[in-house]
Every structure is written in structure tokens, then in C-alpha cells.
């Protein structure tokens, strides 16, 4: 193992802010020599304890040797006058010790052959429900007359060029409450696909939950109460397939996709996930992209960093993670937003698949819902969090780009959205947190022209 791989990447943000001689506590995990295994036979129980003590002694001895060597390096690197702070963890049961490091001494510590990993000592906290403060956000959105997501993506600038007219965006979801005033006459078609894959016409269009209506509002909603605009492409057409009603399976979804193809969809929004990893969904996405010129936009999932969900994790999926708004004017990837790198060394192509592809606003997203009674009153709008909410921002932006440049191939639209996205690490991308970065719709439009 190289020294570089022994030092946790979690050190990077600390090192960036540390001066050359600033100190910080590090946790050192090391490898202790193994003692012999337990004997067989009658002495087993008596010897077990002895063996445990031997193991503890071996761990402590290795730990002491590491600290001794590090102490020498500490002095050699110019900290002779400053005592090295060292503390053990527990009674030697775990091969772990805490030492002080500086940017200069970190490498010397990692160089020792018994050292397996060096991690920054960090504060830990209890995971508990967060109290979310909406009052500032409500005030801000009312003043600016757009949701924070639309403002972040500078959507009103694109509205000077287009509002997504004539673009058909299919939404495969829980349905839609098409009578919501914010949706006006945007819902052009609606169907329910039942678990047997049958298409059932239903009028008026309905939502079996709130999810589908919320997603539709973010794509093509107009103004809601107090004049706040919620939709990215308020003149795009919505084709809504209620596929997530009852026990939905892949068959239901594919029938929904088939319906969307037949109805003339240009974009398909899928804020949904399969119950296990299905890489072969890539074949379906390939047909959509290449045979029909349809742009599928897929949520990457809400299973936190280190996970992804199908179909968003197919190598050719255009998958979306979520960012949240942080004060004063920053954004960061939301803790729940999935992302991972899938490695397939045995394959000839796509040996490394990094997801998501891009990120978009997906926390505290204000949109419309079917009128919902609660003890506090009836609500027709709410805030929702999830990559499900980030995905329709991207689908809406794709509709704006398509309307502005109707002859652009969908592969070019995906390309410009990725390439113009903004990543905090600059050109060192994509990664499995931000993907290619936060989409920059105006830049993408410029690149498309």
C-alpha cells in the first residue's frame, strides 16, 4: 500500500486550511503481529485468556514502536522543542493510537510499514432529526418570485430565450393532479398503467400520492401563491404516466415508457428506482437515446454516499443527484444524495461507472401537490427533499435547451450539461458525489449554439 493511500482523503480539507506547522490529532490504525492460534484440547479455556493477553501485548508493543519511530521523525523535522502528544485508545484491544500530526510529519507517519491508515480525528455527532427553518426561505422566495432552485440555476435568464414551448416531457410517476392552478393546461395527456401493464384512461387526471404532482410542478409549473414561479419550463407540455400506482414492476414501467414514446415524448423524467441493480436497463436507455432521440433523466436515489439505485446507475443513464442550499449563497451535495463508482474490471468497456452524472437543487424544493388536508389546514403546495426533486430541475432545463435548439441531438444536450456543470474541484471530475457538477443552464445553452 502506498503512503498516499494510507492517508485518508478526509485529511484533504484540513490540510488545505492548515499552515505548515499547524497541528492536528490523527488516528493511526496499525497492523500488529499475530500471536499463535488457540490450542486444541483441555487447556483451551485456560490458554484462551493467556492468548488474549499476548495479543494485547503485541498490539501495545507495535503501537509503542510506531510512536518511537514517529517521535524520531518528529524531532528530525524540526519539532525538537515541542513535545509530541500521544494517547492510546482503550487497553490495547484495538491496534489504534492517536498522535499529533502536522502537514510535514504526516508522510513520515504513513511511511512506517506497520501503519495501515491515518485518519483525521473528527468530531462526531448524534444523527437526529434536523429542525428545518423555512421562514427565511419563504421570505426570500416571495421577494425573488422564484424558488431558490430556479434562482440558483438562473432559469429566468433562459426564459428570455425560451420557456420550453412545444417540448413534450413525459413524467412516469404517481400520477398528477392536473387541476392544480399552477399546472394550468400543461398536462396534455394522462394514463394509468396498471400492474398488468394495461393502459387505463382516467379523467380527470389524479395523483395517487403527491410525488408526481410535485415533480410536474418543478418541470412545467407556473406561478403559485404570492407569484412565486416553481417550474423550470413553464410552457413545456406534460405527458403523465401513472406507473407508480399499486404494485409496480419493471413491466409497468416499460409499458409507461412505451406509452410515452407513442405520445411523442422528447424527454422522460423518472424519479424512481428498481429494487436491485439491473445493468441491462442500459439497453432500454440506449433505444430511447439512439432509436427515438428521447432524453431520459433519472434520479440516482436517496441512499447516501456509497450507494446508487437502478436505473440511474446504468452506465448510459443521465442520472441526477441533489444539492442543498447553504447560507449565505453556497450549495453542497445533500447528505442523502446517492453516489458511487461501480467497477467492472472484467468488462471490455465501461470498466468504471461514476454516478451521479450531474447534481441539481433537491432540498427544500417548493412545488404544487394535490390539495391535502392536515390538522393545520389544507395545503396545495409543499417543500420536498430528494433526488426525485433534483431530477425534474434537469428535465426542465433539458426542455429549455431543446426548445432553444430544436435540431440539437440529445447526446449533445447531455454532453453540454455535463461539460458546463460546475464542480468545486474544478477539472478534477467527475466524482461520485457531484458527478460532473451542478448544472449551469445558461452556459450549457451557449455551448450548444
Amino acid at each position: 500500500m502506498s503512503n498516499e493511500t494510507k492517508i485518508s482523503p478526509a485529511f484533504e480539507p484540513f490540510l488545505a486550511d492548515m499552515g505548515a506547522n499547524d497541528k492536528r490529532d490523527a488516528i493511526v490504525i496499525y497492523e500488529a503481529a499475530q500471536t499463535e492460534g488457540l490450542p486444541r484440547g483441555r487447556l483451551r479455556q485456560v490458554r484462551r485468556r493467556l492468548d488474549e493477553l499476548r495479543q494485547q501485548a503485541a498490539i501495545q508493543k507495535t503501537g509503542e514502536a510506531i510512536v518511537d519511530h514517529y517521535q524520531e521523525a518528529w524531532s528530525d523535522l524540526g519539532y525538537d522543542d515541542e513535545p509530541l502528544e500521544v494517547s492510546t485508545i482503550g487497553a490495547g484491544t484495538l491496534p489504534v493510537v492517536t498522535v499529533e500530526v502536522t502537514p510535514k510529519t504526516l508522510e513520515a507517519l504513513a511511511e512506517q510499514p506497520q501503519v495501515v491508515a491515518v485518519l483525521p480525528n473528527q468530531k462526531i455527532h448524534l444523527i437526529q432529526p434536523r429542525k428545518i427553518e423555512y421562514s427565511d426561505l419563504i421570505t426570500q422566495e416571495s421577494q425573488e418570485q422564484v424558488t431558490w432552485g430556479l434562482r440558483q440555476l438562473e432559469i429566468p435568464r433562459l426564459w428570455e430565450t425560451t420557456k420550453g414551448e412545444s417540448i413534450n416531457v413525459a413524467v412516469l410517476d404517481t400520477g398528477v393532479y392536473a387541476a392544480h392552478p399552477a399546472l394550468g393546461d400543461r398536462v396534455q395527456d394522462f394514463v394509468v398503467i396498471d400492474p398488468l401493464g394495461r393502459r387505463i384512461s382516467a379523467s380527470p387526471a389524479f395523483d395517487s400520492g403527491q410525488h408526481g404532482t410535485h415533480v410536474c410542478g418543478t418541470i412545467a409549473g407556473g406561478k403559485v401563491n404570492k407569484g412565486v414561479s416553481i417550474g423550470v419550463a413553464p410552457q413545456a407540455n406534460l405527458l403523465v404516466g401513472g406507473v407508480l400506482i399499486g404494485d409496480t414492476t419493471l413491466r409497468t414501467l416499460l409499458e409507461g415508457i412505451s406509452w410515452a414514446i407513442e405520445k411523442g415524448a422528447d424527454i422522460i423524467n423518472m424519479s424512481l428506482g428498481l429494487s436491485y441493480y439491473e445493468p441491462l436497463f442500459a439497453e432500454v436507455l440506449d433505444i430511447l437515446l439512439n432509436q427515438y432521440g428521447i432524453l431520459p433523466v433519472v434520479a440516482i436515489g436517496n441512499e447516501n454516499h456509497g450507494n446508487t439505485s437502478s436505473p440511474g446507475n446504468a452506465f448510459n443513464a443521465f442520472s441526477v443527484g441533489a444539492v442543498e442550499k447553504l447560507p449565505p449563497d453556497k450549495v453542497d451535495v445533500a447528505f442523502f444524495s446517492s453516489g458511487a463508482s461501480l467497477v467492472f474490471p472484467e468488462q471490455e468497456t465501461n470498466t468504471l461507472v461514476t454516478k451521479p452524472d450531474v447534481v441539481a437543487p433537491g432540498v427544500q424544493v417548493y412545488s404544487c401537490i394535490p390539495p391535502t388536508k392536515t390538522p393545520e389546514g389544507t395545503y396545495a403546495h409543499n417543500y420536498m427533499d430528494g433526488t426525485s426533486m433534483a431530477t425534474p430541475h434537469v428535465a426542465g432545463v433539458a426542455a429549455l435547451l431543446m426548445a432553444a435548439e430544436p435540431t440539437a441531438p440529445v447526446t449533445d444536450i447531455i454532453k453540454v450539461l455535463k461539460e458546463t456543470a460546475k464542480h468545486p474541484a474544478g477539472s478534477r471530475r467527475p466524482d461520485n458525489r457531484w458527478g460532473w457538477g451542478l448544472i449551469q443552464p445558461s452556459e450549457a445553452l451557449k455551448a450548444l449554439r
Partner: protein, 125 residues
């Protein structure tokens, strides 16, 4: 031995735990020709219609090749014709899934697995 390129490893593992005669519901993606001369470009309604028709016909052609497999393994087509993705849902024995995957007329076989809404949390305001 399952054809990993045409069946996902997760599905292959699940099939291994079934008796060969047990029935599963799968989506068969048939090998179809490319009907979009302007690959990746948006289509006019007429182009879309032609592409759907072409893929459906190509799918029907491919389906004829696998009918014998469906017959031999107790398979049942759950739709009358292949859809615009060149797909057809079928019920077939676990042993039949591998036979389908071995066919040159088949691009992929996926389990008809559950789909869930990408849940988020909500707050009324």
C-alpha cells in the same frame, strides 16, 4: 450456466436458487434493427411513427425465433406483440430463461422486478 451479458448477475443468482421448473416473469428485450437514420436526433411525429412501426415489426420477427424456446419451456407471452422498445413480457420456467438468453434473437432478459417511487421527505407550507 447463465449468460451474464444478457442476464444481470443479481437475477442469475436468484435463478440459481429456483428449481428449473419454477416459473418467473421476465421482460425479454429482442434484438431489433436500428430504424433511426439520424441516431440521437429528435424525431418528427412521422419519423417517430415509422421508428415505432419498424421496431415492432423487427421485434415480431425476432419473437418468431424464440417461440420454440417458449414452447419447450412452458413459456407464455403476456402481450400480444412486442412493444416499441422491442420488448415482450413473458412467463417461463427458470430453465427457460437461460435458453432465451442463449438465443441470438434476444438482447437481454430482465426479471420483472419491483419499481419504487424515489421517496423524498415533505413539509407543508
Amino acid at each position: 450456466m447463465f449468460r451474464h451479458n444478457k442476464i444481470s448477475s443479481e437475477f442469475a443468482n436468484r435463478l440459481r436458487n429456483l428449481e428449473p421448473q419454477q416459473t418467473v416473469r421476465v421482460i425479454v428485450l429482442l434484438k431489433v434493427e436500428n430504424f433511426n437514420p439520424r441516431c440521437g436526433y429528435r424525431q418528427s411525429p412521422a419519423e417517430r411513427k415509422a421508428a415505432i412501426e419498424g421496431i415492432r415489426n423487427s421485434g415480431k420477427h425476432a419473437l418468431n425465433y424464440i417461440r420454440k424456446i417458449l414452447q419447450d419451456f412452458g413459456g407464455k407471452e403476456l402481450n400480444e406483440d412486442p412493444g416499441p422498445l422491442g420488448h415482450i413480457p413473458v412467463e417461463i420456467s427458470a430453465a427457460g430463461v437461460n435458453a432465451l438468453a442463449a438465443s441470438d434473437a434476444v438482447k437481454a432478459v430482465m426479471e420483472d422486478l419491483p419499481v419504487e417511487v424515489g421517496d423524498g421527505t415533505s413539509s407543508f407550507r
